[in-house]
Symmetry: C2
Subunit: 272 residues, 2 copies
């Protein structure tokens, strides 16, 4: 199978010795006050500074669309400005969690890949194959399907027993099979809160890239995560523990330090 | 239970003798050529004209975010212009199919309800309770949870057997229970392609509003849908069969005629 996305991921991780993904969730209510009173300017400066300060160790940047959409139409403009900055240094992921019927999904895919220029996107699986396939339609990109999420409500549906296996495992298997005939690559979102699920999914899907949220502010332990997901491509995301390491004028330096500390624990070449 | 959204729905349906929801999916590749070459201007004029032409029979307008996001930041601007026009006449639904962890979901809810001014939103259930609850946080609004969707891939997960019932039924039950402690109202998206599921869900949830896509271009029969969903609040969505009834200069009149024909079949007071 041709896997240009996974190959680029391996290249950038080799360069940086890190599988850290920096999650960009710029919450206007938590930005350092000195960045000014215009929300859009403050978010622009904050996000660009965080990208620059973490660029030596970030293998990817994940833009959380919720925080940009909350800024209205300016937020979408801002994404267009910021994605090219992030792409200079690392892979870029649109954390948009889209999932819609085929026709609408095609439009979302166009927005994310063609208009905004992302390398990957997060996708919701509940609507099934034709909701996911449009995000698998471009070579060199990856669609990270929500498989096992780290939030408390993740248990509500994902652990339901379907014919002897949990629903999340079925979703992983289905997503892999949908990708077989597509030029894009499938990935799985697998939260750090369920290491047992992570190890099980890794055993079943050794070649699928995992995007792993929940390390840092959400409580997951970096080394345990690396052990559970080892043996296949992975990105470990941390957002708040890096972005808000400090909220004074030294926020960018503090973010860079927090990123480097975490990246040292996420060195894929240091796993025993 | 206090249900201001459902009451407003009943009022507008009584006035218009219709439970038609006009789906606004403005596909730039399908717009009448005389609307001009600027995509944003053409979409603006097309959508505003469709709203005006169908306002006598539309109980609700459903804005499909995929088509607006495909226009980039201008698309979000356009939503801000168009939602107030639609609200003069009917309820407004943000068909955004959002679903994310609580913190991000709160930002999406702010965008949809506070910034854009929608009355309702569509929500994806895979991430569970804390992904849905923020959309249930405002009195007078409704969160339509994806329960049984009309696309072909809808079968992939939704029909999986979980403890003797299909997954979609479990999702309906869970969504209802999550709403019990919230000021917003729950609704279900139930596609017209599975009338058996629709009748079953109606029997189990007599008071929950259904948003029913899949009538018209997707093939569902209006009278059969009305029979299956009768006995509770409902909106039946049609998009393409109204929007693209004609693609020449008379597109708005043709859309109005198509809407009135369909609305006559969707008169909640004409059910035997």
């Amino acid at each position: 199978m041709n896997t240009p996305f996974t190959k680029r991921l391996a290249t950038v991780q080799r360069e940086k010795k890190s599988c850290l993904c920096v999650g960009l969730d710029p919450d206007v209510d938590r930005l350092p006050p000195h960045l000014g009173s215009s929300a859009i300017d403050a978010v622009r400066r904050f996000t660009a500074d965080i990208i620059e300060a973490t660029s030596d160790v970030a293998a990817a940047y994940k833009f959380n669309f919720a925080f940009f959409e909350a800024l209205g139409s300016d937020g979408m403009h801002l994404l267009r400005e910021l994605v090219p900055i992030a792409r200079q240094y690392a892979l870029t992921i649109a954390d948009a969690k889209r999932g819609d019927i085929g026709n609408s999904a095609s439009f979302y895919a166009r927005s994310v890949f063609d208009h905004l220029g992302f390398d990957a996107v997060t996708v919701a699986p509940y609507m099934g194959r034709d909701a996911v396939e449009p995000f698998l339609s471009r070579s060199g990109t990856c669609a990270f399907v929500l498989v096992r999420t780290s939030n408390p409500g993740g248990n509500d549906l994902q652990l339901l027993d379907v014919g002897g296996t949990p629903l999340y495992e079925r979703v992983a298997r289905l997503s892999s099979s949908w990708a077989e005939t597509q030029p894009g690559e499938p990935g799985f979102v697998v939260g750090a809160s369920d290491l047992e699920a992570m190890a099980r999914l890794r055993a079943l899907h050794p070649d699928v890239p995992f995007l792993i949220p929940g390390v840092g502010a959400q409580g997951g332990n970096a080394r345990q995560v690396m052990a559970a997901a080892a043996g296949g491509p992975l990105l470990v995301n941390s957002s708040r523990s890096i972005l808000y390491a400090s909220t004074n004028k030294g926020f960018a330096e503090a973010a860079g330090r927090a990123a480097r500390e975490l990246a040292a624990e996420l060195n894929p070449y240091a796993i025993e």
